[in-house]
C-alpha cells in the first residue's frame, strides 16, 4: 500500500484537534462514519490516517493526513478531490502542503520546458528575464500590435496579453494573434534579439484547443493560461496536447488563502505543467508577505523527482524603481513582470521599457540572495 501526505492548518482548541484531524481524514477518504464500513480491507487500505499533529500557534495546528494512492485512480480531478475536495468547504482548514510518492509523481510530466527550456528559447543563460503585459483590454488590434512591437524593440523577453484580453469584439483572437506575432517578429528582425509574444489562451476546453491551434499556426512559442479559471484538469490536458508551448501560468481566480500560495502556485501549478508562474509580489497592491513569495519561488525551483524547475514571475503593482531590490530578493532564476508601471510613460513607452530591460541586465547580484535557491 502506498500513501501520500497532505498537510493542513486546522484552527481548533488543543483538546479538540485530534478529533478534528480524525474527522478530516474521514472526510477526505471514505466520507462516512467508520461504523458504516463493513470491509476490513477498506478500513486498512482506503480510510485515510492521521499522521503528525504539530502546534504552530495559538489554536492553530499543522495536521498531516495520509491518503491512500489507490483512491486516485490516476485521475487529475480526483487528485484535487482527495487533497482538498470537501475539506475546502471547512472554514477552519487551510491546505498547506503535499508530499507525493514516486509512483504518483511518475504520472505527471510537469513542465515540458522549465527554467532551462525558457533560457534556451530566449537565449539568456544566466541573467534574470523580463516580461511585460499588453493592456488595457479595450485596445484594438493595431494599437496592441504597435505596443507589442515597441516592447520587442525595447528588448523585453516575453510580451504577454493581459489576462483579460481573450476574444472580445474589439480585438478578436483569430485576428489579434497573427498580427501581434508578426509585429514582434518584425521587431526581432530589426534588433536581432529574441522576443516572444504570449497570447492568452482561455475559455472552455474546446475554445482553448482552437485558440492554441491558432497560436501554434501563427508561430507563437509561449502562451498564457490561468489554470484556476479554466480548471486545473483542463489546463493539464492542454499542456499534454500542445507540449511545444512554454506555459506561463496566471493566478487569476486562484483565491487568496484557502490553499496556501506556496502550495497552489509553487507546487500544484508546476505539477500540472506550468513552465513559469506569475504570482502577486509582496509590497504591491496584494497582501502577500515576503516570506510567502520566497517560499513560493523556492517551491517552483526546488528539486522534485523528475519535474523540471519552473520560473518564478513576481507581478502585481511592480515598479521600475524596485527592480534592484526584487532581483536581489528573487535571484537570477526569475522573470520580472511589469505592466501598468511601464504604460504610464505613454508616448515614452519605448524609453521606459528600455530602462526596465537595462536595469535587469546591468544588475549585479549581491552574494546572498534572500529567495534564491541555496
Amino acid at each position: 500500500m502506498a500513501w501520500l501526505t497532505a498537510t493542513y492548518h486546522v484552527a481548533a482548541p488543543r483538546e479538540r484537534v485530534e478529533a478534528r484531524a480524525r474527522a478530516l481524514a474521514l472526510e477526505q477518504s471514505v466520507e462516512c462514519p467508520l461504523e458504516a464500513i463493513g470491509e476490513r480491507r477498506i478500513l486498512d487500505e482506503i480510510v485515510a490516517q492521521v499522521g503528525g499533529i504539530e502546534h504552530v500557534g495559538s489554536e492553530l495546528f499543522r495536521v498531516e493526513i495520509r491518503l491512500a494512492t489507490q483512491t486516485l485512480g490516476g485521475d487529475t480531478a480526483q487528485l484535487l478531490n482527495m487533497l482538498f475536495g470537501n475539506a475546502s468547504l471547512f472554514d477552519d482548514v487551510e491546505f498547506v502542503d503535499v508530499a507525493l510518492p514516486d509512483d504518483v509523481l511518475a504520472g505527471f510530466t510537469g513542465p515540458r520546458h522549465g527554467i532551462e527550456g525558457i533560457r534556451a528559447l530566449v537565449g539568456a543563460r544566466e541573467r534574470p528575464l523580463t516580461n511585460v503585459a499588453l493592456k488595457p483590454q479595450g485596445l484594438g488590434v493595431p494599437e496592441l500590435a504597435a505596443m507589442a512591437r515597441t516592447f520587442a524593440l525595447a528588448g523585453v523577453d516575453i510580451i504577454k496579453d493581459d489576462h483579460g484580453i481573450v476574444d472580445q469584439g474589439y480585438s478578436p483572437f483569430a485576428e489579434r494573434i497573427p498580427a501581434l506575432q508578426a509585429a514582434v517578429e518584425q521587431a526581432v528582425a530589426t534588433t536581432g534579439r529574441p522576443a516572444f509574444y504570449a497570447p492568452n489562451v482561455s475559455g472552455t476546453p474546446r475554445d482553448m484547443h482552437l485558440r492554441a491551434t491558432i497560436a501554434r499556426d501563427a508561430g507563437c512559442r509561449v502562451v498564457l493560461v490561468a489554470p484556476m479559471l479554466v480548471g486545473l484538469p483542463a489546463f493539464r490536458e492542454l499542456v499534454d496536447d500542445f507540449p511545444e508551448f512554454v506555459y506561463l501560468a496566471h493566478p487569476s481566480f486562484g483565491g487568496a488563502r484557502r490553499i496556501a500560495p506556496p502550495l497552489l502556485y509553487g507546487k500544484l501549478f508546476r505539477l500540472f505543467g506550468a513552465d513559469a508562474v506569475i504570482f502577486v509580489n509582496y509590497g504591491g497592491r496584494f497582501a502577500y508577505e515576503p516570506e510567502t513569495c520566497a517560499a513560493l519561488a523556492a517551491n517552483l525551483r526546488a528539486p522534485w523527482a523528475h519535474l523540471r524547475a519552473a520560473l518564478p514571475v513576481p507581478a502585481g503593482g511592480m515598479l521600475l524603481e524596485r527592480v534592484d531590490e526584487l532581483l536581489d530578493f528573487y535571484g537570477p532564476d526569475s522573470m520580472l513582470l511589469i505592466g501598468g508601471n511601464l504604460l504610464i510613460a505613454r508616448e515614452r513607452l519605448l524609453e521606459r521599457t528600455r530602462e526596465f530591460v537595462s536595469a535587469v541586465e546591468r544588475h549585479e547580484f549581491r552574494k546572498t540572495v534572500s529567495a534564491a535557491p541555496a
Copy 2:
C-alpha cells in the same frame, strides 16, 4: 453600452472604502493605472465603475462594481475572470452577488431540465425527492451494484456515486456504470417505481467526454459532476455536449468563503447548467448558517430570465431523524441527500432507506416554509 453589476463585501475602514472600491474597479477591468490609458473610449466604455457603497457592519461594506459587458466577449472563463479573477487574490474582498443584463443571460441556456424536468423524470409532481450516495470508495463493483439495487428497491429517486468514486482499480468506470445501471433497472422492474443511477463524471475534459459517453450508452439519465474540480468552463461544455443528462452538481473544491455560497452554488452553478445542486446543510458537519442555506435554495429557485429553476439538494452529515425539520425548512421543491447515516444500518440498509423514503413521502408541510419560495 451595457453593464453588469458585481457586488463584493470589502473589509476596510470607512475613510478608505471609496479608494478601495475604485482600486477594485480598476483591478477587475483594465488592471492598470488610469494615467496609463490614452483612449477616451476605453475610459468611458471599458473601465469599470463604482456603483453603490453600503455599510453592512463594522469596517465591512457592500460595494457594487459595474463591469462593461463588452469585456466578456461571450467567453465563459472570461466572465469568471471579470467577476472575480484578480479580486480573488485580495484577502479583504468576498464576491457576494451578480446581476447580469439580458443580453449576457441570453448567452446561457442554464439548466436543460431543472426542477420540472427532474419531477417529470422521476414521476413525482409535488413531493420532495430523495437522493442517496453509494459509498465508501474502495468497494468493488458487485458490492456497489448490490447497494444500488437495495436503494432502488427501497424507493429512492436518485442514487449517486460518492464523488470520490471515479475510475479506480477497485471499481473501474467502464465496468461499474453498466453494472450499476443494470442493478437499478432490475430493481425498478421489480417495484415498478422509477429510480435513477447517477454516475460521477470527472477528470480532464477528454476523460469526462469519454465517461459521459459510456454513461449515455449504458442508459443513464442523471450524472454527478463537481464543477469546481473540473473547472466551470469545462462543466458548461459538458452540459452543452450532453444536454440529455440531468446534471447533479457537487460542491467539492468550491471553497468555504471567497465566493458567497448563495452566489456560487445558488446562481453560478445554475447559470452554467446544473439542474440540481448539492450543498452543505446547516447543523451538519459544516459551518453554514441556516440563512446561508435558505438564500442558496432561494437563488436556485428564483425566477431569473429564461433560466429554469434548479433543485436544492441539502447534504453533509444529514440524519434520518432530521427529515421533518429539513423538509419544513426547504419546502417540497427540494431533494434530501442522506449518505453515511443510512449506511450505518449495514445489513438493515433496505429497511433504514425505506424509513427515509417513507418519512419524505408522508411528511405534511406546515403552512409557512422557511426557505421555500414565497
